[in-house]
C-alpha cells in the first residue's frame, strides 16, 4: 500500500479568528513496506500530517491516497481506513481503559467486527510481538510497570494488524534500554509482516538507526525527502530547520577535517563507524 499525498493543505478552524495553518501544499510519497521517518521541530506539522494518514483529519485542500482509498476535502467517510492504518500516539499508555490487558488489546479487533475467537488469537499474537509475558493478560493494565504499559498499548494497536503503522514519538519517557527494545521489535515485525512503518521522532539517532527514508517538515511544508545518509549529512541546512545531526555524523565530520582520504560521510550509527574504522585500520596494517 503506497501512500501518496498531493498538495495537502490543512487549516484548523478555517474562517474563524483562531484560524491556524498547519500544513501547506505537502507532496510526498511513502512506498509500501518502507520504514519512513518524519522529522521536524515542534510545530512543523508532523502530527497534523500523520493524523491525515490515519484518517483522523481531512485535508482542507489537496488529497491523499492510501492503497486504493482516496481522501480529499469532500470525502464523507474516512472510516474505510480503519484497520488498515494503526496509530500509536505519544504516551499511548494514557489510552488504556479496560479491566485486563487482554480486554484492552482486544478493543481494536472487536471494533473491526472480528469474532471473539479471532480477537483472542490476535491478542495473544500481539502480546508476543511486543514481548509481553502471557501471564500478564489477565492483569489490570494499571498495575503494570511503565515500560509494560507502553508495550500493552502498542499491542492494542498491533492487534488490529494494520498494513501501515504510524508511531508518534513511541519512545518518549522510556529509558535507553526500553527505547532500543521497542524499536527493535517494531523493525523486526515490519520485516516479518511486510508493514509500512512511519516513525515521528525528535531523536535523530532513532531516525538514523531505523529509517530507510526520511521526510523533513519545516513550518508546515515538506522541505526535503530522501535517504538518511544523504539528508543527515547536509550540515548547516539541518540546523536551519531546527534539527541536529546524529552524533555519529558529527564525529565523522570532525575526523574528516583532518583525515586523508576521508571516511565516507554516510556512517550514521556507532556500528557503521566501528566497521569503517576497523576496516581502515586493518587495511593499513597489512598492505
Amino acid at each position: 500500500m503506497d501512500i501518496v499525498i498531493q498538495k495537502l493543505t490543512h487549516v484548523y478552524m478555517e474562517g474563524t479568528p483562531f484560524e491556524q495553518r498547519a500544513l501547506t501544499g505537502v507532496d510526498l510519497r511513502i512506498p509500501s513496506g518502507s520504514f519512513a521517518a518524519i522529522i521536524g521541530a515542534t510545530g512543523s506539522g508532523k502530527s497534523t500530517l500523520i493524523q491525515h494518514i490515519a484518517g483522523l483529519l481531512k485535508p482542507s485542500r489537496g488529497w491523499l491516497r492510501i492503497g486504493n482509498i482516496e481522501i480529499g476535502p469532500d470525502t464523507r467517510d474516512s472510516s474505510r481506513l480503519r484497520g488498515k492504518v494503526g496509530v500509536v500516539f505519544q504516551y499511548p499508555e494514557h489510552q488504556l481503559f479496560e479491566e485486563t490487558v487482554a480486554k484492552d488489546i482486544a478493543f481494536g479487533p472487536l471494533n473491526l467486527g472480528l469474532s471473539a475467537l479471532e480477537a483472542n488469537r490476535r491478542v495473544e499474537r500481539a502480546m508476543e510481538w511486543v514481548g509481553l509475558p502471557r501471564e500478564l493478560a489477565s492483569r489490570s493494565p494499571f498495575h503494570l510497570s511503565g515500560g509494560q504499559m507502553r508495550r500493552a498499548a502498542v499491542a492494542g494497536v498491533l492487534a488490529m494488524e494494520p498494513d501501515i503503522l504510524v508511531l508518534d514519538e513511541p519512545t518518549a519517557g522510556l529509558d535507553p534500554v526500553g527505547r532500543r527494545q521497542l524499536l527493535d521489535r517494531i523493525a523486526w515485525l515490519r520485516r516479518k509482516r511486510a508493514m509500512t512503518v512511519i516513525l515521528v521522532s525528535h531523536s535523530m539517532e532513532e531516525a538514523a538507526r531505523y529509517a530507510d527514508r526520511l521526510y523533513i517538515l519545516h513550518r508546515g511544508r515538506k522541505v526535503m525527502e530522501g535517504l538518511p545518509a544523504d539528508l543527515f549529512t547536509m550540515g548547516d541546512r539541518l540546523a536551519k530547520w531546527g534539527l541536529e545531526e546524529p552524533e555519529a555524523v558529527r564525529l565523522v565530520r570532525c575526523l574528516n577535517e583532518r583525515l586523508n582520504p576521508p571516511l565516507p560521510e554516510s556512517l550514521l550509527t556507532v556500528e557503521d563507524l566501528e566497521e569503517a574504522i576497523v576496516a581502515r585500520w586493518e587495511e593499513g596494517k597489512s598492505p
Partner: protein, 282 residues
C-alpha cells in the same frame, strides 16, 4: 566547601494504611551537598531518585536518619516553610505544576503563600521573568506556552522565592530537544550565579554538565564521582541501563576489536584525535 544539605543515614519507606510498612525506597543514604554545587542524580526507574528529591525539601520526611538543610532539620514541622523556601523544586510534568491562570499569577503563587507584600512581589516577578526570558508574557495563559516555556515559568516561580537550592526532578524528560536546551541553559545560569543545582535525570548527556554524578540503585548510593570517571566504568554504566555517549561506546567497541585505543577517553575530541593518529600512522 560549605555544606548546604546533609543527609545522615537517611532511609525512607511508605507507611501504607492497610499493608503496614512498605519496602525501603531508600536506605542508609549519607550525602553532603555543597553550596553552589551542580550535582546530577541518576539511576534506573524505581531506584529511589524521586523519593530522594522529595526528601530534600520536606515533601517527605525520612523514616530514619535526618536531613539538615542550611541548619534546619526537615523533621521539625515548624521549620518546613523555611526549608521549602530554601529548596525549590521543578517537577517532570510541565502542566501539572502550574497553578496560576496567567504567567504573572503563577510566579506569584509561592510568594503569596509566604505572605510577601504585593509591591515586592511585583518587583521580583519582573526580575525573575527577565532572568528566565519570559518577560512580556506576564498576562499569557499557561496553556499557550511551549513545554520549554512552561518549565521556565516553573523555574521563575521557584527563583522568586530566592532559594539556595533548586532540585530538577526529571524536569527535561517530557520536553522536545529545543525545550530541553532552554531548561538546561536556565540550569547553567543558576549554577553560574551561585545557586546549588541538583538535577535528577536519565540522560547521560545532561549529567555530563554536572560537577558530580551520583548513581542510585535499589535505594542505595552505588557510585559517585565526576562524569569523566563515570564513563571509565563502562560495564557498570551498562548495568545501570544508562545511555552511553557515542564517543564512549565507540571507544569500547574499538578496544574490543583490538584497536590500541586508550581506556580513559570519554570526550569526542579526544577520540577523534586518537582515531586520526591511528589511521594516519599506517
Amino acid at each position: 566547601m560549605e555544606p548546604i544539605i546533609q543527609l545522615d543515614g537517611v532511609g525512607f519507606r511508605y507507611e501504607l494504611p492497610r499493608e503496614g510498612k512498605s519496602d525501603w525506597s531508600l536506605r542508609g543514604i549519607r550525602l553532603t551537598v555543597h553550596r553552589g554545587e551542580h550535582l546530577a542524580v541518576m539511576g534506573p526507574n524505581g531506584s529511589g531518585k524521586s523519593t530522594l528529591a522529595k526528601l530534600l525539601n520536606g515533601l517527605l520526611i525520612p523514616s530514619e536518619g535526618c536531613i539538615v538543610v542550611d541548619g534546619l532539620d526537615t523533621r521539625d514541622g515548624k521549620t518546613l516553610p523555611a526549608v521549602r523556601r530554601k529548596v525549590g523544586m521543578v517537577f517532570q510534568n510541565p502542566d501539572n505544576q502550574i497553578v496560576g491562570t496567567t504567567v504573572k499569577d503563577d510566579v506569584a503563587f509561592g510568594m503569596e503563600n509566604a505572605g510577601i507584600p504585593r509591591k515586592e512581589m511585583l518587583e521580583r516577578i519582573r526580575e525573575v521573568l527577565d532572568r528566565v526570558g519570559l518577560n512580556g508574557l506576564e498576562a499569557s495563559s499557561p496553556h499557550h506556552l511551549s513545554g520549554g516555556q512552561k518549565q521556565r515559568l516553573a523555574i521563575a516561580g521557584v527563583l522568586a522565592m530566592r532559594p539556595e537550592v533548586v532540585v530538577f526532578d526529571e524536569a527535561t524528560s517530557m520536553l522536545d530537544p529545543a525545550g530541553r536546551k532552554e531548561v538546561l541553559q536556565a540550569m547553567e545560569e543558576l549554577h553560574r550565579t551561585g545557586t546549588t543545582v541538583i538535577h535528577i535525570t536519565h540522560s547521560v548527556r545532561e549529567a555530563f554538565c554536572a560537577e558530580r554524578v551520583l548513581i542510585l540503585e535499589n535505594g542505595k548510593i552505588q557510585w559517585q564521582g565526576s562524569p569523566r570517571e563515570l564513563f571509565l566504568q563502562s560495564e557498570e554504566v551498562c548495568r545501570w541501563s544508562l545511555e552511553v555517549p557515542l564517543a564512549v561506546e565507540l571507544k569500547n567497541r574499538l578496544r574490543e576489536r583490538g584497536l590500541p585505543v586508550r581506556q580513559d577517553i570519554v570526550g569526542t575530541e579526544e577520540l577523534v584525535e586518537t582515531i586520526w593518529t591511528l589511521l594516519s600512522r599506517n
